[in-house]
Symmetry: C2
Subunit: 114 residues, 2 copies
Amino acid sequence: MTQFAVDRKTATIEQRAKLLRGFADPSRLAILDVLSEGPMVVHELVARTGLSQPNVSNHLRCLLECGLVSSDRNGRFVRYRISSPRITTLLTDVDALLDVVAAGVEACENYRGM
Amino acid sequence: MTQFAVDRKTATIEQRAKLLRGFADPSRLAILDVLSEGPMVVHELVARTGLSQPNVSNHLRCLLECGLVSSDRNGRFVRYRISSPRITTLLTDVDALLDVVAAGVEACENYRGM
DNA sequence: CTAATACATCAGTGAGAAATGATATGACGC
DNA sequence: GCGTCATATCATTTCTCACTGATGTATTAG
């Protein structure tokens, strides 16, 4: 039974990893952070994040395909917004966890140096 | 003020990305998933996850440095456990978000195929 | 003291994604 | 129609990380 439980969850572990990869990038986190203040068009996101325009567009496409943001076109402008409040909840919990493990994360040598 | 808020958060965006990278790997998620059932020694984790022993040790070191797990030695055995209930909360939120965006995540072509 | 077990570390390799620059599409003003 | 602005796509380069296999260290048994 325990073994079966592992097998059953293994299927969704790949999904979890894929979803978390969607979040685990400074550029996308910056975009989501700005979008948490409200819907915004692309050139505003470019200005607010300091990222290049193609870069922002690429990340937005990624976030859009994954369903993390939604968009609606108005003339030349495309406005993006966070698609679900559960995303905000998740990011809030990340910050809550960082309150506990921030020092350890800072010290962790395994990932690209900050 | 808004600009300052962005600057203030920019510092922690790197932390968030780094923390989320710690989660965004199938092997580490599998380890955390098994550990959510209770503390366990390394060779049990190896058996339960099907990963190689050096691989498990490497990921455990990563998780340990980041403060996501803690360990205590007992003779030849080292027992690992999840360090904070907030980690479980976070993983629960991931599953809750997947309930909404699972289809989009599946369809997303940007990351490594499953 | 020797061997075996449990775990950790290291170097090398390969896959994959992030950023950039150039370019393409699409909509509006003139 | 023409130029321009807003956004999207593409190709290339670079960098990073996950896995493997071999080896190192610690602890217990005999």
